[in-house]
Symmetry: C2
Subunit: 245 residues, 2 copies
């Protein structure tokens, strides 16, 4: 047996999320079915984390074990030939000894794309949330800065989050305008359920002038989901990269 | 009654082309259904031309007549609210007197997108054809130049083309590399069935070294579809803009 590590991109629009679920079309399900066709083995893949229905990835990392002797350099092409065009294997390598795609994550980066032009850009209609009134990027950046560091993110995760420990560290939260697009970039050691989408929803309300940047600190301290903004739509969110040691 | 002229973008991936067909989901069908919901009228729209199943548009032009008194500046938003996110109305204006979206076309521009990177770009997986071996752009450009001007394009249209007169004038055929992408840009006074896709399919064979650029002239002169290259896939083709006087 050997363990392979892959970087996978996907368009999550037409999938019920990453994780296998009965009767649903999922990213994991599609990849495992492709592996079965390729190797004849029943393979269970492990991802760095789940993504919700409609969320995309540019750099999801997975690992799996196989007895197949297919040479390393052929794997990417063989996998892509077996996968739908909405799932793309970007890289395949032998996993370092003892590597685990979920347990060994050091940094995760998500990017949220807002199409802030007067009319939606066709080529981003699946990958961006369209908000046509111009956003105040400086106010959003000021608010974003208050989220950096180690905090209890209870206010910024779904009320349905069942993990006990809601302390996470964000290494960077950045708001950048590129032509008509506004990108919110979040890097951290881990993210709670809906955390990036609630951060973005709150920053958007700041960018619309509905909230002051200084409210972020109060929202964090209150540990109350109801004080933060709406959950931004899944379509704009992309798991951008996952870093390991 | 007044006549409105609209510029429409669409992602053709999930549609059976522009033109209404029984039992099929089409761009025209979706727009006419939206107009019916908005105005209560049964409205038939006229496009600058059809696009085939899977072909996109950034600047399709349509016109339609309506008795509705909705103010001009509200139309775009109302239409976009009624349309799926894969169809975007970019502009609505009062049509000039006697305007006809199909009969009055002066220039049409199509762009074909080839993703020539080693691995497909996720965000272009619906809008580009992926060809992973690097293409010889200079050879393609040299071949493209031979297509400019007035020619009988019998060799470069589907054998199922029923129009008699296959003479068209191409004002420009250009091949441009932008990072990993290669764009083929065609401007002309009209295009035959599958013409851009057959031009692209032939230029790709030149770019792969399978044909010499000088063959283009011979292919044109032979007036025989079998001498040209394969029809490139619909996914890479976008009706880019339509120009009127």
């Amino acid at each position: 047996m050997r363990r392979l590590k892959c970087i996978v991109a996907y368009d999550g629009t037409d999938y019920s999320g990453f994780q296998v679920q009965p009767e649903q079309v999922t990213i994991q399900g599609e990849i495992e079915a492709a592996l079965q066709r390729i190797t004849g083995e029943t393979i269970q893949i492990v991802g760095s984390g789940r993504t919700d229905a409609g969320v995309h990835a540019q750099g999801q990392v997975i690992h799996f074990d196989t007895a197949s002797s297919i040479p390393l350099e052929k794997w990417r092409l063989i996998l892509n030939n077996q996968l739908p065009s909405s799932i793309i294997v970007k890289d395949v390598e032998e996993a370092p000894a003892g590597f685990h795609a979920r347990f060994d994550v050091k940094v995760k980066e998500y990017r949220y794309c807002i199409d802030n032009g007067p009319v939606p850009d066709l080529f981003y209609h699946r990958y961006a949330d369209h908000i046509r009134y111009p956003l105040d990027i400086e106010a959003m950046q000021q608010a974003a800065g208050c989220l950096i560091g180690e905090h209890d993110f209870t206010s910024f995760c779904s009320a349905k989050t069942f993990v006990e420990d809601k302390v996470r560290e964000l290494y960077d939260v950045r708001v950048e305008r590129q032509n008509d697009f506004v990108w919110v970039i979040c890097r951290g050691n881990g993210f709670l359920y809906n955390m990036v989408r609630i951060i973005v929803g709150t920053l958007v309300e700041v960018g619309q002038g509905k909230r002051a940047p200084r409210e972020i600190k109060q929202i964090l301290e209150a540990k109350n989901r109801e004080l933060a903004g709406k959950t931004a739509p899944a379509r704009g969110l992309t798991m951008w990269q996952v870093e390991y040691d």
